[in-house]
Amino acid sequence: MSTTSLTDRLGSLLMAPVHLLMRIIDIPLRAVQKAAGIGGMAAVFLAPNMLIFGIFVLLPLVINFVYSMTGGTAFFISERNFVGAEQYQRLFTCTNYLDPMSCQEDAFWTAVGNTFWFVVLQVTLMIGVSLITALILNRDLAARSFWRAVFFFPVLLSPVVVGLIWKWILQRQGLLNFGLYQFGIEPYTWLTDRNWTFIATIGVSIWAHMGLYTLILLAGLQAIPKDLYEAAEMDGTKPERVFRRITLPLLAPNLLVVVVLALIKAVQIFDEVYVLTGGGPGTSTLYLTQYIYETGFASTLRNPGLAAAASILMGLVLVVLTLIQLGVGQRSEKKGKR
């Protein structure tokens, strides 16, 4: 009895300033409601959020679009001259449309090509790896939550840290070469080999992000009732058929979400690769975001207008992917309701 009354008293003590604040806020809000009406209050409450969204998302989007129509190296828009679609034209000027090297902006098309192959390979492998990991983690395995944490941990790391960790492992005097040396294998310059760096960027980004997708797939697997597997067991269903006819179809909504999320994230790949390889050697791991960043800010001959145009194009790709995701989400929601 005395403990409850004590906590009660503590509670009301803690709540006192809140109540006071509420009473103070009440006065102007009442006035606002009188002016805006009950229906208008929804807009009033949404306004702060929409303001933030407007300032940090919508406005930059519009400004970016305006930039893509201007030329010169100046940063301030007032000092830039309007050039219309010239920047887009420049991106698409090629002598031979089948050969990126023949384009005026060959770096852009190299980045597009690299990004395309990166996305295709990384997403395919990512789905495979996280699905297999989720299937293993879904079993009655000793220390299951420990393993789950192990796979999720990299997701919590900052991309820069991820890049640095792997640089430390892969560099010439890094951990990998040290380990190989112990087995009598000659050290190798992994980060200066075009093929190996490409593979490394795929491997590292999978390592860094698979935890999230594994978790989504694991949640999907755990939502499949155990009974279904027991019914299949009673019927003598082979494991391969159980996977193909029961697990996969019931996991499909989660798989689609993972595919689209992974696609969007892969198209945007930048930070960990920038830290790990800097886009090199040469342009072998130059991806689209890095091209945009370097064109707009880092290169000596910076061209913010061109970077803006490239990012608008990339944005269009992402919009398409996002629309697919929204469609998929709605479809699986409808399925869930049935």
């Binding site: 009732p225 009974d227 279904l228 027991e230 019914a231 299949a232 067991e233 009673m234 019927d235 003598g236 269903t237 082979k238 058929r241 006819r245 029961i246 179809p249 019931l250 049935r338």
Partner: protein
């Protein structure tokens, strides 16, 4: 064939013994019902028979062959799950076909079996629907259909009716009995509901805490419960228990006194009682009648439930609770005194350990 013999079945999950030395013979074609309080191990026993759980000890034989190491699929049994466990992304037809396709059965035979089962269960009209588009009762039929098409030697059903509403449960119960009569296969049925057990079973297996308390026909269990637990578990409302003591013993009769000093005469022909023995006297509420004569039990009425066709009287007999179910409508109200008679009622005597007294 569908003869199942369990010998000293033990099952533990880690340190918890869930089944303790279960012995049971199930004859071919028999309808066996497992009942018992929640958590007593009914489902676990069914699942060990099915092969979904490995036994820790003992032997399971089907038609004389030891099947402990035989996989669930090869035991020739079919299970109907409480949740139905229908594949939500497949049509009813695909659900029924799924198990048959595993054994590479010719398509024509699969189709034939589905048609036959669908007709038997009257689910032909929605073979192309998905489980999500069916009502609970229809889903339940599909679940049974999925078992039927496999032509199993025995059906295992774990609370198959518990997700249906009361009315549907009664009609489905009757259909299940008819289905059993028609198929003639062994059925093992788990339920909480003793009405289901009483109406469906050839023999009922009453379980408590991983042990079998009694096996017998429904009326055996009702008329001669082997112990206090079974006596209290079978029959609704459950049996009254009064503390008593043996006052006199004559050939053929024992005289008992209750805590309140009432004397009850019981036919008794055994040798296991002696004067002064403390007993529990069990009386079914339906066997108690309202009376006027002063020799009967004087009680205080606590609560009266008028159900129309019968009246349930909750009474207090010298501090012990007594429940009587009397036919018809009675003008009686709480707080009143009443006389209840147990003359002619079958009395069940249980000794100190709760076991039925031999010869009573």
């Amino acid at each position: 064939m569908g003869e199942i013999t369990l010998t000293k079945i033990k099952k533990s999950f880690g340190a918890v013994d869930v089944l303790k030395d279960i012995d049971l013979d199930i004859k071919d074609g028999e309808f066996i019902v497992f009942v018992g309080p929640s958590g007593c191990g009914k489902s676990t026993l069914l699942r060990t028979i099915a092969g979904l759980e490995k036994v820790t000890g003992g032997e399971i034989e089907i038609d004389g062959k030891r099947v402990n190491e035989v996989s669930a699929a090869d035991r020739g049994l079919a299970m109907v799950f409480q949740s139905y466990a229908l594949y939500p992304h497949m049509s009813v037809r695909q659900n029924l076909a799924f198990g048959l396709e595993n054994s590479n059965m010719p398509k024509a035979e699969v189709a034939e079996r589905i048609t036959e089962a669908a007709r038997m269960l009257e689910i032909e009209a929605y073979l192309e629907r998905r489980p999500g588009q069916l009502s609970g009762g229809q889903r339940q039929r599909v679940a049974i259909g999925r078992a039927i098409v496999r032509r199993p030697t025995a059906f295992l059903l774990d609370e198959p009716l518990s997700n249906l509403d009361a009315e549907l449960r009664v009609s489905t119960r009757a259909e299940l009995a008819a289905l059993h009569a028609r198929l003639g296969s062994t059925m093992i049925y788990v339920t909480h509901d003793q009405v289901e057990a009483m109406t469906l079973a050839h023999r009922i297996v009453v379980m408590r805490a991983g042990k079998i308390e009694q096996v017998g026909t429904p009326l055996d269990l009702y008329n001669t419960p082997a112990n206090r637990f079974v006596a209290g578990f079978i029959g609704a409302p459950h049996m009254n228990f009064l503390a008593g003591e043996v006052a006199e013993l004559e050939t053929g009769t024992a005289t008992l006194t209750t805590a309140g000093g009432h004397r009850l005469l019981v036919p008794f022909s055994g040798h296991s009682l002696s004067v002064g023995d403390k007993l529990t006297i069990g009386i079914r509420p339906q066997h108690i009648t309202l009376a006027n004569d002063p020799g009967s039990l004087k009680v205080k009425v606590r609560l009266v439930e008028a159900l129309g066709s019968e009246t349930v009287i909750h009474a207090d007999l010298n501090g012990e609770k007594l429940l009587a179910v009397v036919p018809g409508q009675k003008l009686i109200s709480p707080g009143e005194e009443a006389h209840l008679s147990v003359a002619g009622a079958p009395l069940h005597l249980f000794d100190r350990n709760g076991l039925r007294v031999k010869g009573s």
